[in-house]
């Protein structure tokens, strides 16, 4: 008998049905990946199992854990199951822990809620923290979450979930917010725990490469239904459902870049250094500083497509802000087409020539303005565009939207469409250089593929030069001529993309490439 069996689960939230008869089974010691795009219902399926649905959600069908139908249990009985029979790990390690409680206490709480006496709970919490790879010498249980890195926090989250050795572990995008090397270690940890404890793991992820690396079986969800399910290797080999094929093709997608055409230098940075002051250890101490960027030289030529890759905290955001003239470098010079880039300077021409597209398609627009006004906003920088409305229509069409969209409110658009609007806003002043700062990181794979195609087309047709910043190597690979790898404030490797991926020289680049999950080979050739 399987450990978990979900039988024709339907879920209604208000008048809307979001799950339409989901059925799946999970055996002890097995890893089942539930994949699909945002809104496909994969998280709602997980929350239905945990009984942690939003208010007003009504599930129907059956969810059996070791034969007990969880949907028939009272809330009080569910509280006994949660944490004990089933544990859950969440996506955002930054916010999933209580910021004002020590990590040891948070892990011990799982044990104490289910009746373990305090002293024993504390001892077992310390053991569990060590078991998930937090060395008590370096990260003792008395630490607070803010003193830990993202990966360490996720380990604490896992420790809380497995402290009582539950039969079922649900992990909802557990590595999506983490760097690629950290992701690899967390996935290894999950695999090890499954093996050691014989738990069943229901892994929710949008990332097919992660699925390929870890899951025994795979279920693909679309629009509240499971459209394809089976052993991972088999599903990847056959891909019977068109949606699975689309997801796969989009995941492996490479935009059609066109030949590299560059004409002369555009952006030049020499010896860029950026220090941030650290808090003083005591009020009369000398103020120390942290060097986030350590003397970076970089060049981008007109029409060139350059990638910048690095993990969180490597200084790429700091460098980007300096390049964009948003923050002054502590030392070094930055010029765009020979003119100095100065933070705070009201240099309209310079600002016109360099625009940016950021990660969050929801946070980067003033919600009160119409799309037309949002897109036209940078036009005050430009003197050479007499007919603003015509220009707005032109860029909206260039990014694949309609000129009529200018009158609409930003609420009417999806994440991918908003990112197109952000690109239109960046293009409206006819810039020489656009900085894409994690511009596709928040998007679903199929939407991401569309945006990458758009960027590639703009490069081909308009000779746009760009700096494409991402933590995701596979994305950078498909969209850049040249890739720079940044680590601890320095650019450790800067080479033509093909060469860098074929034969990485720096050990760090090799580490990054080795840690990145990959899709199976056969289908990649096919796509």
């Amino acid at each position: 008998m399987s450990l978990l069996s979900v039988e024709t689960l339907t879920l209604r939230i208000g008048a809307k049905e979001v799950l339409h008869g989901v059925s799946l089974g999970l055996d002890p010691g097995e890893i089942l990946a539930l994949t699909g795009e945002s809104g496909s219902g994969k998280s709602m399926t997980a929350f239905s199992v945990m009984g942690l649905l939003p208010q007003g959600a009504v599930p129907a069908g059956a969810i059996r854990l070791d034969g007990t139908d969880l949907l028939r249990l009272s809330e009080r009985e569910m509280c006994r199951f949660r944490g004990q029979a089933m544990g859950m790990v969440f996506q955002e390690p930054m916010t999933a822990l209580n910021p004002v409680q020590r990590i040891g206490d948070q892990v011990a709480e799982t044990l104490r809620v289910h009746g373990t006496p305090r002293a024993e709970a504390e001892a077992r919490a310390a053991e569990t923290l060590a078991r998930v790879g937090l060395d008590p010498e370096r990260i003792p249980p008395s630490r607070y979450p803010h003193e830990l890195s993202g990966g360490q926090r996720q380990r604490v989250g896992i420790a809380m979930a497995v402290a009582l050795r539950p039969r079922l572990l649900i992990a909802d995008e557990p590595t999506t917010a983490l760097d690629v090397t950290t992701q690899a270690r967390i996935l290894d940890l999950l695999k090890r725990l499954v093996r050691e404890d014989g738990m069943g793991l229901l892994l929710i992820t949008h990332d097919l490469a992660v699925v390929h690396g870890i899951a025994d079986r795979l279920a693909v969800m679309q629009g509240g239904r499971i459209v394809e399910t089976g052993p991972t290797a088999g599903v990847f080999a056959e891909m019977r459902h068109p949606y699975t094929r689309q997801l796969f093709a989009a995941s492996a997608h490479r935009a059609e870049l066109g030949p590299r055409v560059t004409h002369g230098p555009l952006l030049e940075a020499r010896g860029v250094v950026r220090d941030y002051p650290l808090p003083r250890p005591h009020p009369f101490a000398k103020r120390d500083s942290h060097r986030a960027v350590k003397g970076v030289d970089l060049d981008i030529r007109r029409g060139e497509r350059v990638g910048l890759v690095g993990e969180s905290g490597c200084g790429k955001s700091t460098l980007t802000r300096a390049l964009l003239g948003l923050e002054p470098p502590t030392a070094g010079t930055i010029t765009l087409g020979g003119a100095p880039v100065r933070a705070g300077a009201k240099d309209r021409h310079l600002r016109r020539r360099m625009q940016a597209v950021f990660q969050d398609p929801y946070g980067s627009f003033d919600p009160r303005h119409s799309v037309g006004r949002l897109v036209a906003e940078p036009l005050h920088l430009a003197d050479n565009i007499p007919d603003r409305e015509a220009r707005v229509s032109e860029v909206l069409e260039a990014v694949g939207l309609s000129p009529d969209d200018a009158a609409k409110s930003i609420h009417a658009f999806s994440g991918g469409q908003r990112q197109r609007i952000a690109i239109a806003r960046a293009l409206v002043t006819r810039p020489d250089l656009v900085v894409f700062d994690e511009a596709v990181s928040a998007l679903d794979v199929r939407v991401r593929a569309g945006i990458l195609d758009l960027i590639a087309r703009l490069s081909r047709e308009e000779g746009l030069a760009y700096l494409f910043i991402s933590h995701d190597l596979s994305v950078v690979r498909g969209i850049c001529d040249r890739v720079m790898v940044m680590k601890a404030g320095e650019i450790v490797e800067d080479r033509v993309a093909e060469d860098l991926f074929a034969a990485p020289e720096h050990p760090y680049t090799r580490e990054l490439l080795a840690a990145a999950p990959v899709l199976p080979e056969r289908e990649r050739e096919a796509s």
Partner: protein
């Protein structure tokens, strides 16, 4: 933590120095002669001159400031012109009424507000929440002096459980507490209403946080998650309001002191202002500034106690 406390202490000392300078400048250096002002329009020139030298107004300004500020530091607040008594003693007497009253009211308000706020947050959107929110709306809307009069009518006049006013002194502790009870209730009610609302909205914000969901996934009930993980995280905005309320209760109880005939600080200021006794005004204002700054300091320390993230930051 120590660094944090030291920093706060330095900022406390600086604030006090600046505040004393401002008060001194406003009262003594502002245009017009304090002596003439204190004596009123009908005063003789030689009386004014006598008061000027008594007040030390013929001395250089810097010297006057230093001797005033220095006197404060050593507990010498000068002599009241109208009462011919040392200001320090007058203030101390009044403080023995106002400080316990403020603490009493604050304790009552917190005791009322916490259960109400927790209950409303736990029952968000349901009948209990609506009822608590309605009651707090009323609590904020009713003027406290009117509520005080209702209390007197009911508990003092009709039921006779409490006296209608006056203060017997701390020689009879029980009688003193009894005398402060109705005023404290009158002061506490609107404060409790505000505090309950702040706590409720802070808790509701926290309930949407990811770590509450994590706590639920460990097997905590809705209320356990609220109590163990929500409350402490909601304390920062609540502490801010409590700090502000204490400062207000200490000095802002004038009307309640009038209603209950309590010899508190509020009445002292009121009298000193109406009698143009600048020495008393100056000293009491400085004392209140000190109290507010001290409460801010304690609130800052409490923040750091509640939130470990603040301990290392400046």
């Amino acid at each position: 933590m120590l660094t944090y406390a030291l920093r706060r202490l330095v900022s406390l000392a600086l604030s006090l120095a600046v505040a004393s300078l401002v008060i001194f400048l406003v009262v003594e250096v502002a245009p017009g002669d304090p002596a003439a002002y204190m004596l009123g329009t009908g005063a003789q020139p030689d009386t004014i001159e006598a008061l000027r030298s008594e007040l030390g107004l013929d001395q250089p300004r810097l010297e006057r400031y230093l001797s005033w500020a220095g006197g404060m530091l050593t507990g010498d607040f000068g002599t009241s012109y109208t009462y011919r008594a040392p200001v320090a003693q007058m203030v101390a007497d009044r403080l023995w009424v106002s400080l316990p009253l403020a603490l009493y009211a604050l304790a009552l308000s917190t005791l009322l507000a916490f259960p109400a706020g927790l209950y409303a947050a736990a029952r968000r959107g349901r009948a209990g929440d609506v009822a608590v929110m309605g009651a707090t709306q009323l609590g904020i809307a009713i003027p406290n002096f009117w509520f005080a009069m209702l209390l007197v009518l009911l508990f003092a006049i009709n039921l006779g459980w409490f006296g209608a006013g006056g203060f017997p002194g701390w020689e009879q502790p029980l009688a003193a507490i009894k005398a402060l009870t109705l005023p404290a209730v009158a002061l506490a009610l609107p404060q409790a209403a505000i505090l309950a609302r702040v706590l409720r909205s802070a808790l509701i914000d926290i309930l949407g946080e990811d770590f509450i969901r994590t706590a639920r996934a460990k097997g905590l009930t809705r209320f356990e998650a609220l109590w163990r993980h929500g409350l402490r995280n909601a304390l920062i905005p609540v502490l801010t309001i409590v700090g502000l309320q204490f400062s207000f209760l200490l000095a802002g109880a004038i009307i309640i002191e009038q209603v209950f005939f309590l010899p508190g600080l509020g009445r002292l200021i009121f009298q000193a202002i109406s009698q143009r006794d600048l020495i008393v005004v100056e000293s009491v204002v400085m004392l209140l500034v000190f109290a507010v700054i001290l409460v801010t300091f304690l609130t800052d320390l409490a923040y750091a106690w509640v939130d470990p993230r603040l301990r290392r930051r400046a």
